[in-house]
């Protein structure tokens, strides 16, 4: 471990210390050079760059996740995500009337510091994009072990438009070791908002860092996801999209389903047919989407988990090696890791059987049920902690709110004004 801080991207002169860079960023213009519309347009240009087959970004960044990011950055989509939280998006640029003599204005929170997890490399760009279109300045901290996938986007962005240049100039990317406490403290003490992505240990240690009392904390912690489907409702395309939700990101995203509840009796024709069709799609997609190279412990874990399921009375469908596993169990086996394309199918007959099996740290339940079942399931499961119920194929689409948290209200300050009568 070392105390070295690498400044991976900065608009300021090279060789400055982290303290100097943060100070310069705080002292820089507060984002008035580019308004909300200009910033949204800059993100749209960045999306177009990602999509262009000749784009330099596509040569530098692995394609996994780029389609999600390109969709997210498009003007209409991003604007829609922000509008979900605001009665009138014009409040991001001017005071807008909310009552007879009351107006509201949303201004940037200030300096937003992002601590990034390594599970999905492009993840920081989603929270960063929302933060910058709202006018905040940003410090993104990567672990020294992570590849820097953020700077290539900033290098392209700053050439696309004036607003793109402003946004890039308001962003600093740094990397340092997890035990570099002084660097973590420096960021934390300067932050007006802290965004922490990661596991229990990581997010707890970030929350434990000193900061000023007004600092806003947004924590995207260790959540898990599942799916609930009715074989009478889901068609072949839906099964393929559900398998895609599991396969992309190798189940490393919080939104990747680890178990699938299937509305059918275990020995019924419907359940067997679903299991066979899902396994076939899982097999096809596992070949189509290259997986990261597993180390010995990951391969061993898959073998161990397969044995655990079988010893527990479950059944297994799998490929000849360790590319994918579909386990059939009566209830989720908590000792099984469900990683690297290992999914548990759990048959059920009534929704009441599912509710007690929803874990407390649940994030996403990919859902495809009949209309009445969907209404009943989502109403009750939402109160049990579920944050979103996308349909198959949408599971890994980052959206706002995320993890039950609206980012716009947390990354802006709402300012009230009484108007003249």
């Amino acid at each position: 471990m070392s105390s070295v801080v690498r400044i991976a991207y900065s608009p300021f002169s090279a060789n400055e210390s982290l303290a100097d860079v943060i100070e310069a960023l705080q002292a820089s213009d507060s984002g008035t050079d580019a308004g909300f519309d200009d910033r949204i347009a800059a993100m749209d240009l960045l999306a177009k760059q990602i999509l262009a087959p000749s784009s330099p970004i596509r040569k530098k960044i692995p394609s996994e996740g780029l389609a999600y990011l390109a969709t997210f950055l498009q003007q209409g989509y991003l604007q829609g995500l922000i509008a979900r939280e605001l009665a009138d998006v014009r409040s991001l640029t001017e005071f807008v009337s909310v009552e007879a003599r009351k107006s509201i204005r949303h201004v940037p929170r200030g300096l937003v510091c992002h601590w990034v997890a390594g599970n999905v490399p492009l993840l920081p760009l989603f929270s960063w994009a929302i933060s910058v279109v709202l006018g905040n300045r940003n410090v993104i901290r990567l672990s020294s072990r992570q590849n820097d996938v953020v700077s290539p986007f900033l290098e392209v962005l700053q050439q696309l438009s004036e607003a793109g240049k402003v946004i890039a100039n308001e962003t600093v990317v740094v990397s340092f070791d997890s035990d570099n406490v002084s660097a973590h403290r420096l960021m934390s003490e300067a932050a007006d908002a802290r965004i922490a992505w990661g596991g229990q240990e990581a997010v707890s240690s970030i929350r434990g860092l000193p900061t000023h009392w007004e600092c806003e904390d947004i924590v995207f912690g260790p959540r898990v996801s599942m799916a609930v489907v009715d074989p009478a409702v889901i068609d072949a395309g839906g099964i393929r999209r559900l398998a895609t939700d599991v396969v992309v990101f190798d189940q490393m995203a919080c939104s990747s389903p680890q178990s699938i509840f299937v509305k059918a009796r275990r020995n019924s024709k419907e359940f067997q047919s679903f299991r066979d069709r899902f396994s076939r799609e899982f097999d096809t997609l596992s070949s189509a989407y290259p997986r990261h190279a597993l180390d010995f412990s990951e391969t061993y874990q898959i073998g161990l988990d397969r044995a655990r399921v079988l010893l527990d009375g479950g059944e297994i469908s799998r490929d000849r090696s360790t590319s994918w596993t579909v386990a059939v169990v009566d209830r989720p086996n908590d000792t099984v890791q469900c990683a690297n394309r290992f999914v548990q199918l759990i048959p059920f007959e009534a929704l009441d059987e599912v509710f007690p099996l929803i874990p407390r740290n649940i994030q996403t339940v990919v859902s495809l049920l009949g209309t009445d079942d969907l209404a009943e399931f989502t109403e009750i499961a939402a109160k049990l902690g579920v944050c979103r119920f996308p349909r198959p194929g949408e599971g890994n689409n980052f959206e706002n709110p995320w993890d039950g948290t609206g980012l716009v209200s947390r990354l802006t300050r709402a300012v009230m004004r009484t108007d003249n009568g």
Partner: protein, 80 residues
């Protein structure tokens, strides 16, 4: 073949550099080179540009074939 289907196949042929004769109403994402996840997002943006129709992400995800896109374009109001 409807006018929309003809125009859409021409767009696909331009975008993914294939011949329109390679495309049938059943052709879908993954069936031709370039029509992968990124290609699909690009296709949706081009549809907005050329047809003036915005296909919501939730619908775009569920597209299985050219016939699905034609139906969406024909049933979608022009984007403003």
């Amino acid at each position: 073949m409807s006018d929309t289907a003809t125009q859409l196949k021409k767009l696909l042929a331009d975008l993914f550099q294939c011949s329109d004769s390679d495309l049938s109403d059943d052709t879908g994402p993954g069936d031709i080179n370039g029509w992968d996840s990124l290609g699909h997002v690009l296709l949706m943006t081009e549809i907005q540009t050329r047809f003036g129709k915005h296909i919501p992400v939730e619908d775009a995800i569920e597209i299985e074939s050219i016939a699905d896109i034609v139906m969406l374009i024909d049933n979608t109001e022009a984007a403003h």
